[in-house]
């Protein structure tokens, strides 16, 4: 209830994070080399370290200059992918024109700021128009060939590696997302996965011939680009999904399918999930051993969507104990980022490290954790005001010690 006129009322207000930014051309940012940055040490030691530039319907961060300034100053790589597929079925699938409007913005930004580019093409199990979900084998093959040809040609050698398929392995890690799993009544079905997240039109049972054809097509279009399959929960040796994914890649390579390695997404959270929750050092050790297994097999790895979300819903930030636990988790987040970066720079077969995005903003996680809709989000190297977090300092220290 607001006071009526004439009533003197004691009150207060608080401010924080006063800032301004005024850079005329965000595609050609004058970088500040006089200060330490991840980019500085990545370039010095020939690493590729970046962040995905997300664009969401309710979060058009391209209107936020800090969102573009920060990755150019701090990283030397970003990612293009997910080029738009027409919502309505075209008369001739082999002549589809894809929408590159947004991705061209990203490419101009990366090129102008001297950043490496990774790319994503081929097949996804989410975000497809209905006509594609219900397409026949021949239509899907025509779609994949057209898409790969268009994507790779459009970016004409500017993308050094392509994720040719995304998340083909099911969550249990015992098979593929595939056409046999069509279930519009699945309680988890949504607008981006109307036939459930277990469904992919591109695999029929265990028939992965369309994935293999996509890789062959990609190599034909750009013989110099690295070709990857991207997935999550595939980083720890000994885990069911990790083993399935590894054997999937090895099997294709042994059949002569052009595959250079695997993308480890690394959407993680702290405390780590599991019963009991795994120890961080043991977790990192299992990744290390997996990376060395890939190296021994001649396969490369890229860390493609790294995040570490801190869980908030089980601590009370209004208490000192809650604050202490938060401090501990923030440090663990830093330890996880540093540990992953250390693995990336110490294992020569790891070609890149990409965070899922730049800074903590609402709805930026790559997964839907139970606390996802909690008030706070805390996942990345920079906070929501683009200030570096302890995780940033930890990653920077790893790079500086090289």
């Amino acid at each position: 209830m607001r006071p009526t006129e004439g009533v003197a009322t004691p009150t207060s207000f608080l401010i924080d994070d006063l800032n301004w930014i005024g850079i005329t051309d965000l595609n050609h940012i004058a970088l500040n080399d006089s200060v330490d940055s991840i980019r500085k040490y990545a370039n010095l030691n020939h690493h590729k370290i970046g962040a995905v530039l997300l664009r969401e319907k309710n979060n058009d961060w391209f209107n936020d200059p800090w969102y573009l300034y920060t990755p150019a100053q701090e990283f030397n790589m970003t990612t293009v992918g997910g080029m738009g597929t027409p919502e309505t079925k075209p008369a001739d699938i082999s002549a589809i024109n894809f929408d590159y409007t947004y991705e061209d913005q990203v490419m101009a930004y990366a090129e102008g700021n001297g950043m490496f580019l990774r790319g994503g093409t081929g097949g996804y199990h989410v975000g497809n128009p209905l006509w594609l979900l219900d397409a026949s084998h021949d239509e899907l093959k025509a779609f994949l060939e057209r898409k790969i040809e268009q994507d790779i040609s459009h970016y004409g050698g500017k993308v050094y590696s392509w994720g040719v398929f995304n998340e083909p392995v099911n969550d249990e890690g015992n098979g593929f997302r595939n056409r046999q799993q069509k279930n519009p009544n699945d309680p988890n079905a949504s607008s981006i996965a109307p036939y459930s997240f277990r469904y992919s039109p591109f695999v029929d049972g265990n028939d992965i011939s369309l994935i293999e054809a996509a890789l062959i097509k990609a190599r034909q279009i750009d013989p110099n680009a690295m070709l990857y399959i991207n997935d999550f929960d595939n980083e720890e040796i000994g885990k069911q999904k990790s083993e399935f994914f590894y054997n999937f890649l090895i099997g294709m390579r042994n059949r002569g399918v052009p595959i250079d390695g695997g993308g480890f997404e690394l959407h993680k959270m702290y405390p780590l999930q599991g019963d009991p929750a795994p120890d961080l050092d043991a977790y990192l050790d299992r990744i290390d051993r997996n990376l060395k297994r890939y190296a021994a097999a001649g396969l490369r790895v890229e860390f493609t969507e790294v995040e570490c979300q801190i869980r908030f819903d089980d601590i009370d930030l209004a208490t000192q104990a809650g604050q202490d636990e938060l401090t501990r988790r923030v440090q663990k987040q830093a330890d996880m980022y540093a540990g992953l970066m250390n693995l990336a720079v110490e294992n020569p077969n790891v070609l890149s490290f990409t965070a899922w995005t730049v800074a903590d903003k609402p709805h930026t996680s790559g997964f839907d954790a139970p606390w996802y809709h909690f008030t706070y989000t805390d996942l990345f190297l920079f906070d929501k005001n683009y200030n570096p977090k302890p995780a940033y300092s930890a990653v920077l220290n790893v790079l500086k010690q090289q």
Partner: protein, 206 residues
């Protein structure tokens, strides 16, 4: 110096010639008029706040000693989370009509360990304000800063049940003032972060 310029140039001149930015909350108990502020004064200091981040690419321009308006300095990026400050006045942060303090208990999550609080009593006849004045000279080391093409942002918190309805960002020099941006319609009792594209605001007369 009398300035009669186009709107665009006025904004640039006005901003560049002003000595301080000011944050003010306004209680609007009667029908609003075009002026949402009452009084505010500037008490610039010469001490640069240690937490300010100024890009080294900014050009340091020698300041003239006469009374003409100096050419504004472009400082492309600037951040200040008020960390490490113990003496507000020495850092160019003052208030002419209220009390100020560093608050370590109510800090926007992930915004360090300190926020800046102004507190007092709103007299509330029609308009009254709580104000914080910050000296650009102290914040940036420059006499004049060109804010024209800048996107300005800040976090703010209005306590629940507060009569405050607006928070304004104002550039001010002596008796002259230009309202840069205003936030309203916020949910009290929560931290908010808001950005204002000043060039867009003034070019489009938003």
């Amino acid at each position: 110096m009398k300035i009669t310029l186009s709107r665009r140039n006025f904004v640039k001149m006005a901003l560049s010639s002003l000595g301080a930015v000011l944050l003010a909350t306004c209680e609007r108990l009667a029908k609003p008029t075009s002026t949402a502020l009452s009084t505010s004064l500037v008490m610039p200091s010469t001490t640069v706040t240690p937490s300010a981040t100024v890009t080294p690419s900014a050009t340091i321009t020698p300041q003239p000693t006469n009374t003409s308006t100096p050419e504004p300095v472009d400082i492309p990026i600037y951040k200040n989370s008020f960390e490490g400050i113990t003496d507000l006045a020495a850092n160019g942060i003052t208030s002419t009509n209220n009390d100020l303090r560093i608050n370590t208990e109510n800090v926007d999550y992930q915004s360090g360990s300190q926020s800046l609080e102004v507190y007092g009593t709103i007299a509330a006849p029609i308009y009254s304000t709580l104000t914080i004045e910050m000296s650009l000279k102290s914040l940036t080391g420059e006499e004049t800063v060109d804010l024209y093409n800048k996107t300005v942002g800040f976090s703010y918190f209005i306590p629940a049940d507060s009569p405050i309805v607006d928070i304004n960002l104002i550039a001010k020099s002596g008796a002259r003032a230009v309202a840069l941006a205003a936030a309203s319609g916020f949910t009290a009792g929560e931290w908010h972060y808001q950005q204002f594209d000043l060039k867009n605001i003034y070019d489009n007369k938003a």
